[in-house]
Symmetry: C2
Subunit: 218 residues, 2 copies
């Protein structure tokens, strides 16, 4: 039997303007530990902005989402428009503000956000293929914006949960490591750092969501 193949979509490198590094790294670790294979993708676009992670302030720089994401994947990464649902058994979106800044504009525009067209194509093509989609932390907002009536979780942040409901989604409150499964769309979500979490709780969340996703793959 050939290994199950999981695409991991990265939104840069660093919680405040890119992919959350722990969530991304533990997603990759969980896939490998559980005997599957991962490949990383990112949109080949400019970051929304660059944030100094100590001060929280914007830096007068421009960085590329895919080039920075390659720091997490040790250089091996593909542009997201190369993604083909035929090649993968599932796709996973780790969180971090990059998911809400670079993959869609939720962090700036709320529910009126735009979604990166390649991200939208990935999600829609996986739904069409009947293959699972995982989303950690804030990434479920992307899925809600694209699919509408999907059941998911971002933990228990009231404002974000309300925004998800305003997008037509059904939000389920969760705590550390819990996973919500939408059977219709095969969308699987877990809150990670949307909660005030410790690093080992993030690793547990990643293990849980990847176990469930791999279990959904024939």
């Amino acid at each position: 039997m050939s290994k199950k193949k999981i695409a991991v979509v990265l939104a840069g490198c660093g919680v405040f303007d890119g992919a959350e590094i722990h969530e991304a790294t533990f997603t990759m670790l969980s896939v490998a530990k559980q005997g599957a294979y991962y490949e990383c993708f990112a949109p080949n676009i400019k970051q929304a902005h660059v944030i100094n992670h100590i001060t929280g302030k914007e830096m007068p720089e421009t960085r590329n989402v895919m080039v920075e994401a390659a720091r997490i994947s040790r250089g091996k990464i593909k542009p997201l428009n190369d993604f083909n649902s035929f090649d993968f058994d599932a796709v996973v979106f780790p969180g971090g503000f990059g998911a809400a800044k670079n993959l869609c504009s939720f962090a700036f525009d709320g529910i009126d956000c735009l979604v990166n067209p390649d991200v939208e194509k990935v999600v829609k093509s996986m739904v069409e293929a009947g293959k699972p989609i995982g989303a950690l932390c804030i990434s479920p907002v992307i899925i809600a914006k694209i699919l509408g009536d999907v059941t998911l979780t971002i933990g228990h942040d009231k404002g974000t949960a309300q925004a998800l409901e305003n997008l037509g989604a059904i939000h389920k409150k969760t705590t550390h490591g819990e996973v919500i499964i939408d059977e219709k769309y095969k969308v699987v979500t877990t809150p990670c750092y949307m909660l005030d979490a410790k690093i080992d709780q993030i690793a547990d969340g990643a293990d849980n969501i990847i176990r469930i996703i791999l279990g959904m793959v024939d």
Copy 2:
């Protein structure tokens, strides 16, 4: 009993010009999982250079080691010159080229390298205090340059092992997850990505080295 405290010294963010992200993240995870507490430090200095992690080419940019390292630690980081051996039970250096470019200049100057003075102070003060020092991947070169006659491992890369011996160190060949302990200096090393490794082997290496280090702490 209060929690054991481990300082983690980061050299930036990304394998080719900073701290190796998986090694750094798994070090932090292992400390937390094993019931101890970590705090991250980095020198507040300019990176040696910035590498595009897809092409491997230098980028015409300047970045700060501590500011970039804060991406891995989610913003919580202290300048390395604030480190006091009195406050910690052990110190750990994850690897990545940053260890050999920003913490010392081994990647450019080989055994004639200079070591960042704050890094040297950290290592010497921990040896003086009789407290363990962990080094992953390429980081053992820093320790060899400072201490000389220390027993350690960088896996089985012949050139690097020879350089360590030329610095007065004793090199022990190792494979995935193996840890070498120098009882005299309390220096503990493991090869990680100095070997052609999979991500779950890095997690194992981090778990092993942290378990041994915590076991050495009274």
